[in-house]
Amino acid sequence: MKVLLTGISGAMGRHVALGLLERGHTVIGIDRRPWPDAPKGVEVCRADTRKRPAENVFRQQRPDAVIHMATVTHWGARREERYRINLGGTRAVFDHCHKYGVKQAIFVGRHTVYGAAPDAPLYHTEEDPPMAVSTFPDLADLVAADLYAGSALWRFPEISTAVLRLVYTLGPSATGTLMHFLRGPNVPTVMGFDPLYQFMHEQDAARAIVTAVEHRLRGVYNVAGPQPMPLSLLCKVTGRRAVPIPDLLYRTATGHFGLVRLPAGAINHVKYPIVVKAEAFAKATGFTPEFDEVQSMESFRWAGN
């Protein structure tokens, strides 16, 4: 199978590319960033997904499947830029999939779309509405991208579209939302709150994406690994120091004293849990994680991060 990856040069993109190669697939990629030491045979087109060179890749290469991973979070880009990349880019990718006869399209999304709130349930199912729009406004573009990708299911019924809502990832790469938050050595937590955090090893996440392609998955699926852990314990096991800050001072304190800067609304994600149920994905693909929660946390810790 010829698989096109957008965002191939990111840590997750690379893991997925290697996973696909290992399984005997042909891999091509689009990314604005370079991948200088890409394995032999992996062609990376350095372009923006919304620009003509990216469309040329679709036209000339005619991939069987596309994995769309070129999305950014508040850590990586400013708001206007995020809307351009996350929504404009997703639109371009699905339009090209439709135009150039791609059979399978996978949107790699995030479990944070469900949002964290005091009255939100543990173990969200795929039917739950994406409340992050109100609980964490800086996620609105990602929520919109997630729902927009899902609309391909009825707009382009000939494409098998799968929207994957992956939990946070941990691993040696030290990139991604959670690992950025845990950059350390001090992690700002909210005094008196200790939410569950759900994460999986980055290699498991990559394996899940590869499995989804091979199963021609269609629909919206949560993807999770081992059981969630309280944030305090996550900090402890990854060798960080949790610094509890009273609720009212949290916004002022973050971004100073060596603490990571967080956008407004992020505090809800540090006070309340987002935990998803991933049974449907496991049932559809037979996926089981290889790394448990302890291995995932320690792989991040001992990679020198």
Partner: protein, 287 residues
């Protein structure tokens, strides 16, 4: 945190058939250590403060899903704590029950953490279904906060029962074990409520007894469990049908309350042999 854990309580917690991970945390984020602290404190209240006597606890199934459903009373939800404790300490094998907590609890620092780590979750249907489908025991007070918000003069009168619990029981095929909690009304006899302060704090009410301190007195309490009631259905029945089932549960709870209050009066009559026929409650806790 190094809070004391009663070794006997730790033993009971070890007997729970849970999948704990390496750090003693289960899939719902319940922590063995926090359970130890929580039940050590509740155990003291249970044994020495409220001196709870439990009757018919064998009616709670040894394993598998179940809903224990009873009356709420006494200003503060100490009855909930005592029911949880009875199921862990006096039921063999011990069972960890989950309460369905008012939403404000999750917004409060520390309370949020503690309730999450000891399995007392926000009262959402999603939580109830997830816990029952995991074959756990759910503790339900269908009166909700209205139940604990009763005044002493309305003691033991069941206020409006919700019907949600019945639909969940039918949907998940869970037996309902009715129970009566007797003594809670006398332990904290609410004279009136602070409503405006409560509203500002996000609380449903603040109970004020005649002795002014909203803390229960050390009155001996009883819990009466009845035989499990099993209803057949899917949870999608018409309101009329559901209300009929709810009324049966309610009637059974009323019977258990009456049984408990009669036994209580006999006990007090033996202690204080005086004529109490005029008064429908013994003169135990009316300050």
């Amino acid at each position: 945190m190094d809070l004391p854990i009663d070794p006997k309580i730790a033993e009971r917690i070890d007997l729970l058939e849970h999948d704990w991970n390496h750090y003693g945390i289960d899939a719902f984020g319940i922590s063995k250590e926090h359970l130890g602290n929580f039940y050590s404190l509740l155990g003291l209240l249970y044994r020495y403060y409220f001196r709870v006597t439990v009757h018919g606890i064998e009616h709670v199934p040894d394993r598998g899903r179940a809903m224990v459903v009873g009356n709420h009373s006494g200003g503060l939800p100490v009855d909930g704590g005592m029911v949880l404790t009875s199921l862990l300490l006096d039921h063999d094998p011990p069972r960890l029950a989950h309460g369905m907590v008012e939403k404000f609890a999750q917004q409060w620092p520390f309370v949020s953490t503690w309730f999450s780590r000891v399995g007392q979750f926000t009262g959402l249907p999603e939580h109830a279904v997830a816990l029952l489908e995991d074959d756990r025991v759910l503790m339900v007070f269908p009166e909700g906060a209205r139940g604990t918000g009763k005044l002493y003069r309305n003691r033991y009168e069941l206020v409006g029962f919700g019907t949600g619990f019945m639909r969940l029981a039918l949907q998940t095929g869970s037996p309902i074990v009715p129970f009566a909690f007797v003594g809670g009304e006398e332990a904290l006899p609410t004279k009136f409520h602070f409503k405006s302060i409560a509203k500002r704090m996000g609380l449903p009410y603040i109970p004020v007894p005649a002795y002014l301190v909203p803390f229960p007195m050390p009155i001996a309490c009883d819990i009466y469990y009845g035989k499990p009631l099993v209803f057949e259905g899917t949870g999608a029945e018409a309101d009329r049908v559901i209300e009929g089932y709810v009324d049966r549960v309610k009637a059974r709870i009323v019977e258990l309350i009456d049984e408990g209050r009669v036994a209580r009066r006999r006990r007090l009559d033996r202690l204080l042999p005086m004529d109490t026929t005029e008064d429908d409650t013994p003169g135990e806790a009316i300050p």
